[in-house]
Symmetry: D2
């Protein structure tokens, strides 16, 4: 297919590479153009504006940091909304708000275009390897049409809802589950650490029994070593996601006390100067609150 | 070995059975004696008092519901403290407070006896199958001496600390992790359910990726089906454990906001009349708070 | 002075009336025009658009429900920004977000106009009686220029900051204090009520000693009588204000756990169908969570 | 009357002095006897044991720090329970747990004695001036009998319940209200302070309007000046009281999320090394969590 791909951050560059390798024709755009150089070598064309990437494409992916970035790329004068063909599909893979997903759906419908939300779970290495988990929300026929593309970037596609914005809600809910697990580890580690228990042994106990899941292995190790400096997912991004989860929950009238608590912990992390740390910094915040130097 | 075993609830009866089957000589005691009948058929002797079970034993296990039950069995006039031989070992497998574990350690030391905390993770079926996880706290030589017994009841023994009470702290911390995971599921399920997302599909997404652990499979299923009527672990027991975790944390000066939040959710469950439900009732409480009828 | 006054809700109509009575020339606008009829009888002119109210005015007041209402009145094609004279002053008395206050300040400055935030504390009866408390934020000379108007509507003016948006922050912080006091009363009342203590006597104890302040008298009485049906300040407005306080706090990197907790309580009130109740509904939510029928 | 008075801390010494001055015959006991010297000069007799203070008294007051202190003074071999005359009254003025009050009531009833809970609100200076607020719980006739004594120590007596333990619950609930107000101030001050608003002006705004109550004047000033070094009420005492409030609430099945939150804040204060500070340290904890150096 002819694909426009906008947003070549650590996730986007991997996803775009998989689509190129699968034989599709890509026009890629990134605010800083040099991020696309390697993709150009693999056969992609570099577009100078989002508009140029979208012009003539059957499918346009966006993979950007947040709501304002997506809004700009879609609605600006040189944005994709004005440039996309009739019936072309915008696939929004970014972790954005439920309300923006609704606005995008409506705007593309008014323009005679189609819209699907397809946020992903996984990290940059999974993106580069085509091992993401794709959460697809949109009409059945459109998702079916996109399925080969999802197979290029992911190991599995989850159909959640005909309403695209529900895919965004599921993504935010999944990230909330992640933050909640890290916060629980953070508090439990502070407790056993202060009693003099070896936290590596405690982590081993958890992950060899009830809690034998990637989330506890990964963040258990990061908390054991207090390693939050190599940020896979920084505090401001995590704070944004929990804020969006709380906003979506408020709209649906769902109180989420653990989400509120994690929100405040991330805010305190920012206040303490940990803006550039990984979300595993929750372990450090809990330790400091317990008077532990880590 | 000659073993006294006190407490034949759903967990204790399985553990005692495994010890009998492993060839040990058991004198068992339970407040309601008929619970020991099947063990008698397998070769155990029924004792009429804790004292009688402890008399002459090399090792005395206690597996009881809470602190007051253990205190009574140990310190009462017909309790085990007065009956145990010099150098005999009390193995406390119950989920008790850190402070009671300390009192037990001190009292047995004063009496010339030995004390080990060995709380276990796992449910009644795992106990019957010898598949528990044993968390052993105590002096190395005593734990080594007990290792054959731990192997009879468990699939793995975790050495946590030479301080027995740290094993109790680890058990309480593990239960806290469990409650925190259920509460996170409860909030996320309320959110996606209210948006009209199929919660079974959401549970499947979680458990096939980052959250592929027994805790999420088990409680995910219970929350999908709102099945909290067949209580594997009732609300009062869960409330007791989170209270003990908070008390231990207070002593160590560790704030645990998620534990406090879960505590309040269990208290509200009690207030709503869900005293006999499983701890999975957290899903029902979160749903009700969101105006969902489940 | 020649004053435009936009927004004739229960607060605005009282404030505008005080300004008319003080001898000023008012052009008033409200979305539903009949709200201005009584003011017309007292000498005000009815304007058909915000633009018409602002045209030729030295000072334009806005007293509206929320951010979107203010944004529309200011920035719409028939809004006040385009209509106000050079050097005219926009006095924003609504409880709006800190970020919108910043946008208003910047937009008016670009247009050669002046901007002051002057949110108020007090209820409709205090507005009608000129007994409000005015929190004024803006340059000293502009606030001094407006002082006669503030004296017409309020019993006291508090100078908070030369930065107008800080007046909005103070207003949101004051409302947060109010919500926190109601929530504390709600929890304490649930506790003593369930023990069989007479809550009216408990309220009397509080308000005759340490807690002898209007907030505890007013909300104490409302909670004693479980009277949340005559809404002086409805749940959606309260929820909006606590959300704006949390948003401002997040920007400033200040965790506010009590605000988060109150936010979730108001969300649950909405979920339970109490959308049209007074903010005193926090008492009902706390009681229900404790299994009390009120 | 012949009165035994046990516990001559900063509160007790003032209360006992008022009783002496009112013409009663006092035998006073304190663990460190020199605390009673001044009372001796005013006419009191120094007792060497609690038993000696209670022997022959019509009324025995206890005013001690916590549950263990009261338990010891009552139940020890040289305690008051064994020494009190038939029909004599134990007036427990300490802030103790609801459950201990129940035990005391039952024990004195079995011994043919009477029991009243009469915890007090107010500080040492109010105690010395007879300006306390007395919360009396017990049978009407006994409270009426004690009324002259309550008038000697307090400015007002509140009758709460015929059940003595409800007076203790009310005292704990009042202290909870106090902690909640301080925590709300702490969060609001952190917010406005970080925005550059003058917190003294903010405090003035609050206390001249809705929040014009002693609690906000006193703790507002302490938080403005970050003065938590002259401890009127230390963190461990505050932590104890909020713990007892939560325990009483759990027994009654009342969730108290603000109490839980304050509990965790006090625990964190202890962890940060603020054990000897005043409860106003909540302001410091909130400020630190927001990255503010105070």
């Amino acid at each position: 297919m002819r694909i426009g791909f906008i947003g070549l951050g650590r996730m986007g560059v991997g996803m775009a590479g998989r689509l190129v390798d699968a034989g599709h024709t890509l026009a890629v755009y990134n605010r800083t153009a040099q991020r696309g150089e390697k993709l150009r070598e693999r056969g992609a064309v570099l577009a100078e504006t989002p508009e140029a990437a979208a012009r003539g494409a059957e499918v346009v992916f966006t993979m950007l940091a947040d709501d304002p970035a997506v809004e700009h790329v879609v609605f600006a004068a040189d944005g994709i909304l004005a440039a996309m063909d009739n019936n072309a599909v915008h696939v929004s893979a970014s972790t954005i708000s439920v309300s923006l997903a609704r606005r995008l759906m409506a705007a593309h419908a008014r323009a005679g275009q189609r819209y699907v939300s397809a946020p992903v779970f996984g990290r940059p290495d999974a993106a580069a390897a085509g091992r993401l988990f794709v959460v697809a929300g949109g009409p059945d026929d459109v998702v079916a049409y996109l399925q080969p593309l999802f197979e290029a970037i992911g190991q599995r596609t989850y159909r959640m809802s005909a309403d695209p914005s529900n895919a965004n809600l599921v993504k935010l809910s999944g990230n909330f589950m992640l933050f909640a697990a890290i916060e629980a580890l953070a508090e439990a580690f502070a407790l056993v650490r202060k009693a003099g228990v070896d936290v590596a042994a405690f982590k081993d106990l958890l992950t060899s029994s009830l809690f034998n899941a990637p989330v506890y292995h990964t963040y258990g190790d990061l908390l054991v070593s207090a390693n939050d400096q190599n940020a896979g997912f920084t505090v401001p991004l995590a704070l944004k996601d929990v804020r969006l989860a709380i906003a979506a929950a408020e709209s649906l009238r769902v109180p989420m006390p653990v989400a509120s608590l994690v929100h405040d912990a991330f805010v305190s992390a920012m206040a303490r100067g940990y803006e550039n740390r990984d979300q595993a910094v929750l372990g450090r915040v809990a330790a400091e609150n317990a008077g532990i130097k880590v």
